[in-house]
Amino acid sequence: MLSVNICDVELKNPVIAASGTFGFGKEYSGFFDVSKLGGICTKGLTIHKKEGNKGIRLYETTGGLINSIGLQNPGIDNFISNELPFMNELDTGIIANLGGGSIEEYIEGIYKLNETNVDFIELNISCPNVKAGGMAFGIKSSVAYKVVLEVCKLSKKPIIVKLSPNAEDIVDMAIKCCEAGAGAISLVNTFKAMAIDIYNKKPVFDNVFAGLSGPAIKPIALRMVYEVSNAVEVPVIGIGGIMDWKDAIEFIMAGAAAVQVGTANFIKPDISLDIIQGIEAFLKAEGIKSINEIKGIARR
């Protein structure tokens, strides 16, 4: 009833923990059986270990959370030796979220992840392109196209390209990524946002800008998922402000094959279980046999 198929990988249900909000699964496994999830995305990984950003990293707004973690992570090698073994023991889809500051870094990451048994690689193209003045790869379709093309050529794993909502044209971006070989599209990453400390008279974040997530962004994220699902053939994974099963159903009806839950994990560690149960109960109440029946139903 709940199982979904993404790039020939079967997930037991469509609810995936979003990158950066679920650590490497271990942290949450003290609270519930994380194998009940459809999948888990790792914290964003880079070739080299990263310390992340200085200064304030979290700031709350109405219905939203702005974060400036700065991709703090132990580096891929470390991930493979210290974190992946635990994840491999789990009975759930493993998605390695990959970041990079240049095409070369992405490629190096792919080579390393190719040799693991992760189920997918999720390409985070919201990272700043260090060589091109720091604008993220995911803003202009032509820039994203190049990275995705190189990565897909070399990857042995299905590639999910995770789009930034800051893209100039989200639909064109999705189409170009698919042309470049993306096996699936996930969206959205966080929105470029900021806050100002009026007493300090300075931006709250050392980097000035940071990423907005949470229920505040849901209506915009849902719109983007609807538009993108309309434009591409590959499975779309809906992300952005999903707080309960109703939100998840909205994304699925908009065309998503699966969803990711991010900020909501902070409200209640096992909130994804509530979401899975809620989806199941809804399908039963509506007499729907499979989640796939309602995929994109609002678009017809």
């Binding site: 109405t62 973690i69 703090q72 902070f266 209640k268």
Partner: protein
């Protein structure tokens, strides 16, 4: 000690001094001194839960002591008997109570006293001197008197005890180990004098938190051992670790 997410009923929520509340929640709770819980009693506004230290645990209840600072603590202050509250915890490392021995000084500033009451209560076979600084109104003095050998109080305004900062009347030289919780600026001072005197010092740090369990990396701080999460690796750090890494 297994951390859990749970919902529990409030027994009492009493203002013990201006803007300072003691919240008592019914149930069997676990937690070492220096650990904390993430609390929430609202739906989506504010979005995140709030970290509050364990102030006391008895057989059938847990106590928190908090100060109204913003939206979240304001909402807590309106809770009443029989209302429900959500708790996630116990979280963090806590103090290594079993290895704290000898002459102990506990130094607190303002609401930093909240976790340190439970710390003092939990220590075994130590001589405890309790130094508590406040802005204007001193609270919890009776309770502290019961569990500490000597108690020193200061207020910035002089309304109670020594007039000035508590750091002015505290000298680390007389102690084997110092435990400290308060505003950053005060903890920095205490850490510095202790390390200068070659004394063991542990502090309990604060930071804004989202997950509370080490997953989001939102609450990290730099230490001599690299980036650490306040919520999981902390909130208790040794002075050496955090010195020069504020």
């Amino acid at each position: 000690m297994q951390s859990k997410h749970m919902k529990a009923k409030i027994l009492e929520n009493k203002e013990i001094a201006q803007s300072i509340f003691k919240l008592i929640i019914k149930g069997k709770f676990e937690g070492k001194s220096g650990q904390f819980y993430m609390l929430r009693s609202w739906n989506r506004e504010p979005l995140l839960s709030r970290p509050i230290s364990i102030h006391n645990i008895d057989e059938n209840k847990i106590e928190f002591l908090y100060e109204i600072r913003g939206k979240g603590t304001e909402i807590f202050s309106n809770l009443e008997k029989d209302d429900y509250i959500e708790l996630l915890g116990p979280l963090g490392n806590g103090f290594d109570i079993d290895n704290i021995k000898g002459r102990v000084a506990i130094v607190t500033g303002g609401i930093g006293i909240a976790p340190m009451y439970y710390v003092a209560k939990s220590l075994n076979g130590c001589v405890i001197d309790f130094y508590a600084g406040f802005r204007d109104i001193a609270y919890l003095i009776d309770d502290i008197n019961k569990i500490a050998n000597r108690v020193y109080i200061s207020t910035d305004t002089g309304s109670y005890g020594y007039k000035g900062f508590i750091t002015e009347i505290f000298d680390s030289i007389n102690y084997d180990i110092i435990l400290c919780c308060g505003p950053n600026i005060m903890m920095d001072k205490v850490v510095k004098t202790c390390l200068d005197n070659n004394k063991k010092i542990y502090i309990s740090k604060e930071n804004y938190m989202a997950c509370g369990i080490g997953a989001c990396l939102g609450c990290t701080c730099s230490t001599s051992n690299g980036m650490k999460t306040v919520c999981k690796d902390g909130p208790v750090f040794s002075g050496e670790e955090v010195m020069n890494y504020a």
